[in-house]
């Protein structure tokens, strides 16, 4: 079906279902309860999950398949964002032209960056991409201010030409929309003490994410995908087999650049503003972390990694010492203070510390990322089921699962 194998269809269906039901799944705790702060089912965060999911899915096509580690992919995300906002200023607040232009411009830019950076491999390639990204960041801040808005960035203004849109009503502000459907529109559903929010923007982004995920599966399973893995495995053999590894790597680079641009365009569609900080090197590093954390070279890993990092960034970072005190309130006073003092560095502003530790643990103990963790747990269950019969080692699973 749709050119996918049985297992891939199952995987895709699960992801689709989870994405559609995310407003429920991410809001397991009733409003007003102490645990409600762990709810992640609010539009802004859900949008981030899927947008960074797209970013990581695309990055994985380059890094996971070919092994080329780019340290500058945020540049394509940023360039996509700028392209999108200009579409909104010049043409229309409809998100379609913005998103399409984001992909095209990021794709073109990645042809340039890829063509030059791919003359080298390994650490030199990584440095070249990093240099390009930092250059873009610096330019956006300085020389290119007329197109980037410099430090303040860009947002749609009432005075923008917007050729395709009619004049705005008096006092109205331009809103991103999909043929009139406001991206900010939300439907709230209260069930008992629970409150679930269904946001138009989220569902648009989620649909795009599912489409991107589908494309990624197709690429992974195609002859082209095998060639990309061949690049990672043995370029020498590849060349002596009559294949030119360069265009394959460049194609992967450009595809991942276009995914980054798509993510950047969607970001603008959800929240109509751009600033250069989007291209800062930490943003490039983040997508590397997401991919490795989830499992580079796996289909679903990057999405998991993106979700995990965004969850920590938004939820763990919100925990402050007051909250910790209420958690440990049942303990005797002295002990409570000690525990709070011990946990405090890892939450709130210290969430990076927790992320760092989690990352180290994963890299050391689960080199295949969260996906490998999941597989190990599954294997444990399977082995238990098979207990008794001579325990043959579980067959090594397909590398790109």
């Amino acid at each position: 079906m749709l050119g996918l194998g049985k297992k891939d269809i199952a995987l895709f269906m699960i992801v689709a279902l989870l994405t559609l039901l995310a407003p429920f799944i991410l809001n397991p705790f009733p409003e007003g309860s102490e645990l409600a702060q762990f709810n992640a089912g609010y539009p802004d965060l859900m949008q981030r999950f899927v947008i960074f999911g797209i970013f990581a899915i695309g990055f994985n096509i380059l890094f996971g398949l070919t092994g080329y580690l780019s340290f500058g992919h945020a540049a394509f995300l940023g360039v996509g964002s700028y392209a999108a906002i200009w579409m909104m200023k010049l043409l229309t607040m409809n998100v379609i032209p913005a998103i399409i232009m984001a992909v095209i411009v990021a794709g073109l830019f990645s042809v340039l960056v890829g063509y030059i950076s791919l003359r080298r491999s390994g650490i030199y390639f990584a440095i070249l991409t990093l240099a390009f990204a930092q250059m873009s960041y610096a330019l956006a801040y300085s020389v290119l201010t007329p197109i980037t808005g410099g430090e303040t960035g860009l947002q749609p203004k009432v005075s923008d030409p917007r050729l395709f849109d009619g004049a705005l009503a008096e006092g109205a502000t331009p809103q991103a929309n999909l043929f009139g459907l406001d991206m900010g529109a939300s439907y709230e559903m209260a069930v008992g003490n629970w409150l679930f929010t269904f946001n138009a923007g989220y569902y648009v982004a989620a649909a795009v994410m599912l489409a991107s995920f589908y494309v990624a599966i197709r690429i992974f399973r195609s002859p082209f995908g095998i060639m990309l893995r061949a690049v990672k495995s043995n370029q020498q053999r590849m060349n002596y087999t009559g294949l030119n590894s360069k265009p394959y790597t460049l194609a992967a680079f450009v595809i991942s650049g276009m995914y980054a641009g798509l993510a950047g365009g969607l970001m603008v569609a959800m929240d109509t503003q751009v600033g250069p900080e989007r291209m800062f090197w930490t943003a490039s590093g983040e997508v590397v972390l997401m991919t490795i954390l989830g499992g580079a070279g796996t289909l679903i890993g990057p999405v998991l990694g993106a979700g995990m990092i965004k969850y920590m960034e938004n939820i763990v970072s919100k925990i402050n010492s007051d909250i910790l005190h209420t958690w440990f309130a049942f303990l005797p006073d002295g002990l409570e203070d000690v525990l709070v003092a011990m946990v405090y560095p890892f939450v709130g502003k210290g969430w990076h510390l927790t992320l760092g530790i989690v990352f180290m643990l994963v890299v050391i103990f689960l080199p295949g990322g969260l996906v490998e963790g999941g597989q190990r747990i599954m294997n444990l269950f399977r082995r238990k089921k098979r207990a008794g019969d001579d325990s043959t080692p579980a067959p090594k699973s397909h590398p790109a699962e």
Binding site: P223, N234, Y240, G242
Partner: protein, 250 residues
């Protein structure tokens, strides 16, 4: 008629003359063996044929076309495949995928953006890959990671990859090293059969004289970068210079 013409090829590595005025002509559809002690320059010579090294002097022509300065993938696309002395396979990929890649390369050329095709739909290529694995008796290992194969199996896989491309010229660098006797004999049979049925010219470097004498029609003996003699296997056996090179070379 000769398909491969090596004329006056020399190659130095610093002060070491790895190849010194090598002249070899390989006849079309022949199996030409190159033997010689370790360090004689046999692998270096192959490197000069496939675009890995550029000789300091001399010329290499394949079917009348010069191979000097041509990229490895282009030389392969001209019909030259090589089995390396240390197996070069796609270790992270399955045995099955390892055989698919050369088949795609042969059909689609050096680059093709087949990102939306599915392998299952490529019946032609899948059939060929399957047949190739059966030919080298590895069909039961098709789902294994290539890196986890034994040394002998890696060689057979690499050979299958090269043979599946149906090259005009197949270069084999010690194809049976590290193989069990039975596998060596199977390999000899396989090469003989393929050579007879598909008209593949082979240049084979080999230390195992059993393999050399079973396959080759011509033998070149090299020592210290220079070919000493070239003759039929029977004449080579008792040649005094050969004895000298092998015994004196160590």
């Amino acid at each position: 008629m000769s398909i491969l013409e090596i004329k006056g090829v020399s190659k130095r590595f610093g002060g070491l003359k790895a190849l010194d005025d090598v002249n070899i002509s390989v006849a079309e559809n022949a199996v030409h063996a190159i033997i010689g002690p370790n360090g004689a320059g046999k692998s270096t010579l192959l490197n000069c044929l496939v675009g890995k090294l550029i000789p300091d002097t001399g010329s290499v022509t394949f079917q009348g076309q010069s191979l000097l300065g041509i990229k490895p993938h282009q030389i392969n696309q001209m019909g030259v495949s090589r089995v390396f002395q240390t197996p070069e396979i796609f270790g992270d990929l399955s045995v099955w995928e390892n055989v698919l890649i050369p088949l795609f390369a042969r059909r689609d050329g050096a680059f093709r953006m087949h990102a939306f095709e599915t392998i299952a739909n490529e019946a032609d290529i899948c059939d060929k890959a399957e047949q190739m694995l059966i030919d080298v008796n590895m069909q039961d290992k098709m789902h294994m990671h290539a890196a986890s194969l034994s040394r002998g199996d890696k060689r057979r896989l690499e050979m299958a990859m090269c043979l599946s491309q149906e090259p005009k010229l197949l270069l084999l660098d010690e194809p049976t090293a590290g193989m069990a006797r039975a596998d060596t004999n199977n390999t000899i049979d396989l090469l003989k059969e393929i050579q007879a049925s598909r008209n593949i010219t082979m240049a084979i470097i080999e230390h195992d004289m059993h393999v050399v004498f079973s396959l080759a029609e011509r033998v070149t003996v090299m020592a210290q970068g220079t070919p000493l003699v070239e003759d039929t296997p029977d004449n080579i056996k008792g040649h005094p210079k050969v004895q000298e090179a092998y015994l004196g070379g160590h």
